[in-house]
């Protein structure tokens, strides 16, 4: 945990590994614990927990691995989830509830129902998604405290 991005902000950063289902969720669990220790409002914590967990699962399931960075400021919590490709072909489609490209193995774990990105958007106060085919997908999420 280091102070960065100005005076009153705390930065957390986690490496997320592709296909590592046994550890998937650890980063989100840690983020939730830190927010609790900081005494952040429980409703905001729940929104952050769900958004980061869905983002973390997305990186594990769909990407070549990536990183989740969280900036905790007095007014909001910003989450940046950036992976190393393959990128999303059709973002509008990916944002539709029920649309999914997940494998059967992932569906057996209870994911891949096409709810991930819509869920993240629902719990975010600000939501931005950007993707370059073959390069990366990046989510920028803000939740107000």
């Amino acid at each position: 945990m280091v102070n960065e991005q100005g005076k009153n902000s705390i930065k957390l950063e986690y490496e997320i590994i592709k296909d590592d289902f046994s550890r998937a969720g650890e980063a989100s669990s840690n983020i939730k614990k830190v927010l609790r220790q900081l005494g952040i409002d429980s409703k905001a914590i729940k929104k952050v927990a769900i958004a980061t967990y869905e983002a973390e699962m997305n990186i594990v399931i769909h990407s070549e691995g990536g990183k989740i960075t969280v900036f905790i400021s007095p007014d909001d919590i910003e989450i940046i989830a950036k992976d190393n490709g393959p990128g999303i072909k059709n973002i509008d489609k990916a944002m539709e509830e029920g649309f999914s490209t997940a494998s059967n193995k992932v569906r057996e774990l209870g994911f891949g129902a096409g709810m991930g990105l819509p869920n993240i958007k629902r719990y975010s106060d600000e939501f931005h998604i950007e993707s370059n085919i073959g390069e990366f997908t990046m989510l920028k999420i803000k939740i107000y405290i």
């Binding site: 969720g25 729940k46 967990y53 699962m57 209870g110 709810m115 869920n119």
Partner: protein
């Protein structure tokens, strides 16, 4: 409803959190789709599921669900039980199928969550 009553109604075995069985739950949600659990969260909700992987515990943790009932006699591996213990969760296992387990709890007054829970 107290978790101990749920355990008795479902003739369930307690796999984790035995000392917490006094804990109250207000609503229940039966589902094998973790993304749906994340979409329909609510306070003091009991989750009934046939899945036993670590993502069930993580999903419960993120949504503040403290009680999980595994149906069809399913039991998770030790790592999953350890993860639940670490998060102060109660894990129960019942031989009933999901539909029957939900039916028993509903008939005894435990309601489902509203169709779209908010954050």
């Amino acid at each position: 409803m107290k978790t101990i009553e749920i355990m008795q109604l479902l003739n369930a075995e307690c796999l984790a959190g035995e000392s917490l069985l006094d804990m109250e739950v207000d609503h229940a949600f039966g589902c094998d789709l973790m993304s749906d659990v994340l979409a329909f969260i609510n306070e003091k909700t009991l989750l009934l599921t046939g899945l036993t992987n670590p993502q069930v515990i993580r999903t419960a943790e993120m949504t503040d669900i403290n009680v999980v009932v595994f149906v069809r006699g399913k039991k998770p591996v030790k790592e999953v039980i350890d993860l639940a213990n670490k998060n102060n969760m109660i894990l129960l296992s019942t031989n009933h199928i999901l539909y029957t387990a939900c039916g028993i709890l509903y008939a005894n007054g435990l309601k489902g969550i509203p169709s779209r829970g908010g954050a």
